[in-house]
Symmetry: C2
Subunit: 230 residues, 2 copies
């Protein structure tokens, strides 16, 4: 009989016998999210969380079986930040576009979301609400269930791609930028990559396009390509 890896959402939050837990999954997730917002996913370690909670590292494992469970918790918690009370208009494109915009904001607020291994996530309750909402937007669209799920998955992927692009433009990691500059110089020097040299030379001068605008245009294209009525 193989061990049951049993997604955390299937285990009860607390047992029926002993004393009440001193902390809750929600509290732990909140602390972990603060750590991740500040220092990225790598900063989310058993001991850092324990320290922030004022306990030893072992205590966490009463709430969570594994670090992955913890990330599931975090993922689900921030997914709950997306406002699902926005009424659907009935136009799938508009509705998904609006949802995508809200999701993009979420990614900008919690950049570590982009580092969560993509399909590793197990659907938590908040994520289920999210997915249900997205499927509701597609309710009257003639597609198979599988295609709808794929479409939502791709849409979220595109959202993350754009969020990535925007974040990468926003912050100025001095160390990296210096290294890039040095290497660019070498590339320009050897003369074998003239187009790269040209594109990168101009790139810092070219005005960036309004991210929101290009995001909306691309998302529309994606949805059209997915077979939605345009």
């Amino acid at each position: 009989m193989p061990e049951e890896p049993a997604s955390i959402w299937l285990r009860p939050e607390r047992g029926a016998r002993g004393p009440a837990p001193e902390r809750s999954r929600a509290q732990i997730a909140a602390v972990a999210i603060d750590l991740a917002d500040a220092g990225g996913l790598a900063a989310v370690s058993t001991r850092q969380i324990a320290k922030a909670l004022g306990t030893g590292p072992a205590s966490l494992y009463r709430y969570v079986a594994t670090r992955d469970d913890l990330i599931d918790l975090m993922h689900d918690a921030v997914t709950g930040e997306v406002d699902l009370s926005v009424p659907l208009t009935g136009d799938p494109i508009d509705d998904l576009l609006s949802l995508a915009a809200r999701t993009r904001d979420l990614c900008l607020r919690h950049p570590w979301l982009l580092d969560v291994p993509v399909e590793r996530t197990r659907l938590g309750p908040r994520a289920a609400d999210y997915l249900e909402y997205a499927l509701r937007a597609l309710q009257h669209v003639p597609m198979t269930g599988r295609r709808k799920l794929e479409a939502i998955s791709l849409l979220n992927g595109l959202v993350m791609l754009f969020a990535q692009l925007e974040l990468q433009e926003r912050r100025t990691p001095t160390a990296r930028q210096a290294a890039q500059a040095a290497y660019r110089a070498q590339l320009a020097a050897d003369g074998r990559h003239p187009l790269i040299a040209a594109a990168m030379a101009g790139s810092s001068l070219d005005p960036p396009e309004d991210p929101g605008q290009s995001f909306e245009r691309m998302t529309r294209q994606l949805l059209a390509g997915l077979g939605l009525p345009g």
Copy 2:
């Protein structure tokens, strides 16, 4: 004076003084790639590589300053597998489409590529050739350098999204599938997510679309959205 994190591509492969290195960056990258192909990025550890090479873990650091450097090496090496001798037709759409298809094959051959932190990669020589090739396809398109770079980045992102979708459909991780089934049952039971229940119930029966076909359609849409002449 801050330490120079100096991208690995800026350091010489070997010094001028001492004995010749017994191994090369290429050999190490090849071993690491084999490990990653077999067991994912997580299986690429200092000691595993050292063991495969028949040495101790410390020896690696004569070739690589950090694990990230090692991943840069791997990334660049597999990027070199993309055939850039395919002549360009002059039609940017066709050329990028063809390049994207080859890139998609690469991702399917080396699934760990999808786990490489996206913008962390420092442009190696092979990757530079790749980028130069892509820029050549865009040579006569009236876009700023920055927009071209963004377009290529987005295109590669889309390629990875599709590769992910396809891989996820291909393999059948029994443990996960069982957990998902259990959770799906609970979702269907509580009745609060009827659309999810319906979509997932059908999803295993619905015929999958030909991946290549949907990939090409979506890529066309993306390129059109990026402002390429269609």
